[in-house]
């Protein structure tokens, strides 16, 4: 029944549109008859209007022009009126009105449809044009008759203006005078003061002058204007004068835009109307001067998209004023909106326009599509809050974070149970009609996000909705999703983030994009064939043959969620679009391990976002999956082959998502490559894009300048460090990034390792690394060794380890040291390259034979603490593997590695550890998002500070250790800090010490509370041990030098003897 209703509605709507179009056609026909006088014109048109309206039977129309009135029939005017002004030369010359003579049901504007309003507006606009034309014609003919001497064409135009639009005449005279002055015409320069007396008094303008300026006589002005044009005729060619006068007259017609755009009070609907009018005029030949066009673009960008300067700069070069016309039609906004659409939406809009307006490449770019999208402006959220009287919620951000966390589920519920203002609901209904019954993704497009970079990523929600069921059900789930995203603005994470970044007092304005999900229905699922992200710059080179500008694609089957995020148990396929033939993984075993096994999709049955096994999906639907034959390979024993294009058996073969078909000359790959190239040029730098494909076309989902996490940004290479402090430097194949606060180095001696005499010893080296990986403080040690970490087969060329043997290291360094005749090539970590990428473990090759530094003295002569960590090793192995405790070898200093790919320079420096003062929450922020390293990092930095300020002699402290979750880099927001103090003082010293530590403890509790909202009684968990404990290895003393999870000593001031 409901379905029938909606079909009926569609038919009814179509019928109305047809009527309106017919009406417009007929009007145009009348207007195109050049022989008709204005009077006849009005008489004819007034009759054509009522049939175009919804209820022609009760519809009457009236045209007023000057003091004349035309109606289609006799009628009494009623309150149900729709009118449009007829303007000639910016002045109201008349009006067209339509009345319903009887009451009819309420529609968009009283009983009238909004399409009817548009109809009437266009009739009025077109009539204005025609009437102007008629007027000009009359004057022109009169002028021709009257003039005794033949005047040039432009004089006729000016004559005409004198009679019809003196304002414009003066305006043009002024412009002409300026133009002449700019062209250094001396006559004009001397006349300028006379023409405009205020010019003379310019200096007076800057004084406090309370007298009004004198009014200039009109006749005088005309004379002066004539003089200006006389000067012009003496100095400029006829054609030049005609050209510029015409241009100025045309430009004058766009003045209404200037008024609207420059008035901060004008609302989005005003702007929308102005753009529509502009659109009409431009189709009739309105041209703008370059500066004016640019100013319009900038103004529109600022008002509608975003005011981020970087964005505006690119937009003004690439977006045309007319481009906004289409956009305005899909923006949903409150009645008097002053909102914008926000960052994400703007990025996508700009990308679309760049492609549309980019010249030579556009043929291959034509097929790149953009999913149909609708937008809600940023003030939609405020309107929603106001409409539901939820003003209290705005205060949420000023509550303490614990309370915010506690109340958040309630906020979500309140939001989801609130109703949307009718304006928005109406917009959403339209959007749903337009978007159809495809699944949708509802995404946030925050204004703060634009203003302060992309670091908000992941803070706000994106929701998929299946968009199934009746119209009402679909609307309900759409509003539910929007409400949930609105609610996420008041979630603890964004509030915490804004607090930390001093953004809390900004009004959070949240735009929304509602976008069709790209894809196909496959069984009960809806999903794109493939999707992913592409980066203009590749920060992860897996072969020396790759260049950074070759870019990087991360692609998966199904929704791109699995390619955007790093997922621990699965991998995306990595492709270098510049050199797609160089695969990350070469052997079959690696290809199997590093291929995506799972697929994200929308389950149309449950209406939810879902994840399924690729093998299950292919088993059931392999033959109905568009483009799948290019995405998977069949696993035969020991080799991979492409599936058959037709009639392939997906049930009885093993398949692997390898995207071989994407790599080998597919149109999609060349499109992505082209996109990265074009955007790199337009954005003056690398971009990252999100894309998806339904197997037929490539869709662009997002586009923005490439972002880096703080740890992956190009590091500033310190210039002022002493050569003695430099452990190593590198100038080849350097990636971007910073690795700080390294306390331990595991060094496998490249000279000694190949000389180990048995296979067992070579193999054992890998086992030692594996043990150290578990013992040493996580992400605070680095591995340095000869070439090819993870070698198999050629074990002599590198230590045989798997990824799980090294997964806790912060960095992997390979040394290519010349041996006899050759320099060994490095593996570039390829054996587990993808694992390194996903875990953000940095990789750096060193070439010590080139002009770089490698402080082998430090590496070979520092104390080797390996025997204390892994006892009972042969002397040969102990000589080969060295573990260096950096702080104890360098008076408490630590290793910091700075790498800059732009200038191909890296340096490892042993210097002071980064202390609290340099502890920058922003720096750790991105790591927190990626791998939640935030909590242990700040704890550790404070503990180091505490340790270094303990006066050991005063308090009777011999040594200070840390163990547990902070040492092991696993601390969470509620973790305490386990400390071991080797105490040898007396009772009063202990009291003093406890009191001193108690002060620290309180501060730490407060710091933790402020940054996470977790309130605990204590943070410091202190255990005291004595000489006796250590001797007998009782109590916590066992932690010192333990094999598993040993306590780590920290430097203290003046240790007690």
């Amino acid at each position: 029944m409901k379905k029938k209703d909606s079909v009926d509605k569609i038919i009814r709507d179509l019928r109305e549109r047809a009527k309106e179009i017919k009406c417009l056609y007929q009007v145009q026909e009348v207007l195109s008859d050049q022989t008709l006088k204005s009077d006849e014109l009005c008489k004819k048109i007034v009759k054509l209007i009522p049939p175009g309206f919804q209820y022609p039977d009760v519809c009457a129309s009236k045209i007023v022009l000057g003091n004349k009135k035309y109606t289609d029939k006799k009628f009494d005017e009623t309150e149900w009126e729709l009118g449009a002004d007829i303007e000639i030369r910016g002045e109201k010359s008349g009006r067209i009105c339509v009345f319903y003579t009887e009451e009819r049901p309420l529609e968009d504007i009283g009983p009238f449809l909004k399409e009817e309003r548009k109809l009437l507006n266009s009739i009025a606009d077109q009539m204005s044009m025609q009437l102007l034309h008629n007027q000009l014609k009359t004057v022109f003919e009169e002028g021709k008759l009257q003039s005794t001497e033949k005047k040039s064409e432009w004089w006729i135009i000016l004559d005409l203006l004198k009679r019809t639009d003196p304002r414009l005449l003066v305006n043009i005279a002024q412009k002409m005078l300026n133009y002449l002055c700019l062209n250094a015409v001396s006559e004009a320069e001397s006349f300028i003061e006379e023409f405009n007396p205020s010019f003379k008094k310019k200096t007076e303008l800057f004084k406090d002058n309370n007298f009004p300026m004198s009014v200039i006589e009109t006749s005088d002005i005309f004379n002066k204007s004539n003089h200006v044009f006389d000067i012009a005729s003496r100095n400029l060619s006829e054609n030049e004068i005609l050209d510029i006068i015409q241009k100025w007259i045309k430009e004058d017609r766009s003045n209404f835009m200037v008024n609207i755009l420059e008035n901060t009070g004008s609302s989005l609907p005003d702007i929308s109307n102005a753009i529509e009018r502009y659109h009409h005029l431009s189709s009739q030949g309105l041209e703008l001067s370059v500066p004016r066009a640019k100013s319009f673009r900038v103004a529109l960008t600022r008002r509608v998209l975003t005011d981020q300067p970087g964005f505006v700069k690119i937009a003004k070069e690439n977006v045309k004023v007319d481009d906004f016309n289409g956009l305005m039609k899909v923006i949903i906004h409150p009645a008097r909106s002053h909102g914008k659409v926000g960052g994400k939406s703007s990025g996508l809009f700009l990308a679309e326009k760049i492609l549309k307006n980019s010249g030579p490449d556009s043929k291959s770019l034509k097929n790149i599509k953009f999913p149909k999208s609708w937008y809600i402006t940023s003030d939609g959220l405020l309107e929603f809050i106001k409409y539901n009287s939820l003003e209290d919620i705005v205060e949420q951000k000023y509550k303490d974070i614990g309370q915010v966390r506690q109340e958040y589920p309630y906020v979500v519920q309140v939001f989801k149970n609130s109703t949307f203002p009718p304006d928005i609901v109406k917009g959403l209904t339209l959007a749903l009609d337009d978007l159809g019954d495809r699944p949708l993704i509802v995404r946030s497009s925050s204004l703060l996000e634009d203003r302060f970079g992309t670091s908000f990523a992941g803070k706000y929600k994106s929701l998929f909705i299946a968009n199934i069921g009746s119209r009402e059900e679909r609307l309900e789930s759409l509003t539910g999703a929007i409400a949930e995203i609105y609610a996420s603005t008041f979630g603890p994470e964004p509030i915490e983030y804004r607090n930390e970044h001093g953004l809390i007092d900004y009004l959070e304005e949240m735009g929304i994009i509602i976008q069709q999900v790209v894809g196909n229905r496959i069984g009960d699922y809806f999903l794109p064939s493939f999707a992913g992200v592409a980066f203009g710059n590749n920060e992860y080179k897996w072969s020396p043959r790759l260049d950074k500008e070759d870019g990087l694609i991360r692609v998966v089957p199904g929704l791109g969620t699995r390619a955007v995020d790093r997922i621990s148990d699965d991998y995306p396929v990595l492709i270098s679009p510049g050199k797609p033939d160089l695969s990350v993984n070469a052997s079959i075993e690696e290809k199997i391990k590093y291929s995506p096994k799972k697929v994200d999709l929308i389950n149309l049955k449950s209406g939810k976002f879902d994840t399924v096994d690729l093998s299950d999906l292919l088993f059931d639907h392999g033959n109905n999956f568009p483009w799948i034959e290019n995405m998977v390979s069949v696993v035969e024993e020991k080799y991979l082959r492409p599936p058959k294009k037709i009639g392939h058996d997906y049930k009885n073969n093993y398949h692997l998502a390898t995207f071989e078909g994407l790599k080998s000359g597919s149109v999609f790959l060349s499109q992505i490559k082209l996109l990265l190239g074009i955007f790199r040029e337009k954005y003056s730098g690398p971009v990252d894009i999100e894309f998806a494909s339904d197997g037929k076309d490539l869709y662009l989902l997002q586009c923005r300048p490439q972002s880096f996490s703080k740890d992956s940004r190009p590091a500033v290479i310190p210039e002022d460090s002493f050569e003695n402090d430099i452990l190593f430097s590198a100038e080849k194949h350097v990636p971007n990034g910073t690795v700080q606060d390294i306390t331990h180095i595991v060094y496998v001696d490249p000279d000694k390792y190949p000389s180990l005499s048995t296979f067992e010893e070579l193999y054992e080296t890998g086992r030692i690394i594996s043990k150290l990986n578990k013992i040493l403080p996580k992400r605070q040690f680095i591995l340095i060794g000869p070439g090819r970490w993870g070698s198999r087969g050629d074990i002599k060329l590198g230590v045989s380890v798997t990824y799980s043997d090294i997964n806790n290291t912060a960095m992997l360094i390979e040394i290519a040291k010349k041996r006899k005749e050759f320099i060994p090539d490095l593996s570039f970590g390829t054996h587990f390259f993808q694992d390194l990428v996903e875990a953000d473990i940095k990789y750096l090759p060193l070439y010590p034979d080139s002009d770089t530094i490698l402080n082998e003295k430090f590496l070979k002569n520092s104390k080797n603490i390996l025997p204390s960590l892994v006892p009972d090793l042969s002397a040969e192995l102990q000589n080969t593997v060295r573990v260096i405790d950096i702080p104890s070898e360098s008076e408490g200093k630590e290793l910091h590695v700075y790498m800059n790919s732009e200038i191909q320079k890296a340096v490892g420096i042993i210097s002071e550890s980064s202390t609290i003062s340099s502890f920058d929450p922003e720096e750790t922020e991105n790591r927190k998002v990626l791998n939640s390293d935030f909590h242990w990092k700040w704890r550790l930095s404070y503990v180091k500070e505490i340790a270094s300020s303990i006066d050991g002699e005063k308090f009777g402290v011999k040594a200070f250790y840390i163990f547990g979750s902070v040492k092991n880099a696993t601390a969470g927001p509620a973790s305490d800090i386990d400390i071991l103090i080797h105490f040898c003082g007396n009772t009063s010293q202990k009291n003093d010490l406890e009191m001193w530590l108690n002060g620290w403890d309180r501060s730490l509790v407060m710091i933790n509370y402020l940054s996470t909202g977790n309130k605990t009684d204590n943070i410091l968990d202190i255990h005291y041990i004595t000489d006796k404990d250590i001797k007998n290895r009782t109590s916590y003393a066992v932690k010192i030098g333990a094999h598993t999870d040993p306590a780590r000593p920290l430097e203290i001031k003046r240790p007690a003897k």
Binding site: W542, S543, P544, R545, S568, D569, K579, D581, L582, S583, V584, N585, A586, S587, I588, I592, K593, K597, D613, S615, V635, E636, E637, K638, Y639, L640, R641, Y654, H655, L656, P754, S755, L756, S757, T758, F759, E760, E761, L762, Y763, G793, D794, I795, K796, L797, Y803, S804, R819, K820, P824, D825, T830
Partner: protein
């Protein structure tokens, strides 16, 4: 590089020297067999995708061809060392001899890293390899096969180049081809079946009916699944299956009261031998860690996937009930652990060179079928495999029992003896 550093060729020579002493080989035989008979080193020029030229070094080492045409893999490796190819070629001579195949041993490789090469460049290397070494290869001279970083694709390029140069169709030039291009049926099952055929023979010797035994398997990939398949057909009870969990990066052992039902587990296994822990638990399986699979009270242990799995550190957890360990994987037991298990626990260890020889036997079958241009059905392949591997097992085992040595030593001695005999009969030594 010190002279005392690890060298795989020297290790292989030492192994041969031990066998030579037992066999009391004359010095000429020792001289002949200690080093490869022929070595070819050549350069392969390749036009790279960017238009530049690059020269790659290729090698083919033929250890011995007294028993027949040489056979062995071709590998791509950035730092292929000639010594490791020498060692591998020697090992191939022993492998073919243990299985009593009428073949010799060879190995080859190209110094290159496929990671840095496009597919097109790899094809050029394969074709260049054949062009440079054309006279020394062929179905009756030396037959290559895929190895490290090479696969059927590379083999077919080489075959095509060879056939183009000879103007003939000679699929027996190379093995490791897909079935539709002249590969052998049953290749997939061969290695796993071979392992279990050896176990069957070992049980016969112990006079135990397979149906009264239980076994525990490590690995659930191709080799293990086929071994399990045959074991099940023989009536044995599968007590436990262990495999690497990719999420946890740990070995997990799965077992269930009443025994494992392989078909049931197969449904929750990815195509690469990884069992889905959650789904397995839903099926009522208990998931255990820490080598649980080898602690089960079973008669037979079959390690099929990982090297160096049983060491002196964990061998003691193997219960007394275990009578047989069949090495489906390469070197799953380290030498120290092996010695103790054999001497103290009296466990029969079927060495890898014998237990996983099903693979090389089937390669030989592929060669034979290709040369005849007539292809057998699966059952025929299996019947011939059974016959070959059983007789290989019997001779190795008999020799071991007779001389009181381990099966591994026995296998090496038999192999060396067969090769030495062939050389002598040809009048070389």
């Amino acid at each position: 590089m010190g002279t005392d550093s690890y060298n795989p060729f020297r290790t292989a020579q030492k192994q041969f020297d031990r066998a030579a002493i037992i066999l009391n080989l004359d010095s000429a035989s020792k001289d002949l067999l200690r080093i490869p008979m022929k070595e070819f080193h050549f350069s392969i020029p390749v036009r790279m995708d960017d238009g530049s030229k690059k020269i790659f070094r290729g090698y083919r080492i033929m250890h011995n061809n007294a028993r027949g045409a040489a056979k062995g893999g071709i590998r791509f490796h950035r730092h292929e060392s000639v010594d490791s190819l020498r060692a591998l070629s020697m090992l191939m001579s022993w492998k073919t001899a243990v299985a009593d195949l009428p073949l010799g041993g060879a190995y080859g490789g190209v110094e290159c890293d496929p990671r840095d090469l496009s597919e097109n460049e790899q094809e050029q290397i394969c074709r260049g390899y054949v062009r440079q070494n054309f006279n020394n290869m062929g179905p009756e001279i030396d037959v290559p096969a895929p190895d490290l970083m090479t696969n059927a694709m590379h083999m077919l390029w080489m075959l095509d180049e060879y056939e183009t140069m000879t103007g003939k169709r000679t699929p027996g030039f190379i093995t490791g081809k897909p079935v539709e291009m002249g590969g052998s049926l049953g290749k997939k099952e061969a290695t796993g079946y071979g392992v279990m055929l050896c176990v069957r023979e070992a049980l016969k010797e112990l006079s135990i009916s397979p149906s009264k035994t239980s076994a525990s398997f490590q690995g659930f990939g191709n080799v293990a699944q086929n071994a399990i398949d045959l074991y099940q057909k023989m009536g044995g009870k599968i007590e436990c299956i262990s495999c690497l969990d990719r999420k946890e990066m740990k070995e997990i052992s799965y077992s269930k009261a009443g025994g494992v039902i392989p078909d049931e587990l197969r449904k929750v296994t990815d195509p690469f031998g990884g069992i889905d822990k959650k789904k397995a638990e839903d099926l009522g399986y208990e998931a255990e860690y820490n080598d649980a699979w080898m602690k089960k009270e079973v008669d037979i242990l079959v390690p099929c996937a990982i090297e160096n799995l049983i060491t002196e550190a964990n061998y003691s957890s193997i219960p007394e009930s275990v009578k047989i360990i069949a090495e489906g994987a390469n070197s799953p037991i380290n030498p120290k652990a092996e010695e103790i298990l054999e001497k103290q626990n009296k466990i029969k260890i079927i060495p890898d060179i014998l237990a996983n020889s099903g693979g090389v036997i089937c390669s030989y079958f592929e060669q034979v079928q290709s040369n005849m241009n007539y292809y057998w059905d699966k059952n025929e392949v299996f019947a011939k495999l059974d016959q070959k591997i059983t007789s290989a097992y019997v001779s190795v085992s008999d020799f071991a029992v007779k001389n009181g040595i381990s099966m591994r030593e026995s296998a090496f001695i038999i192999a060396a003896e067969r090769v030495a005999d062939a050389c002598r009969e040809r009048g070389w030594v």
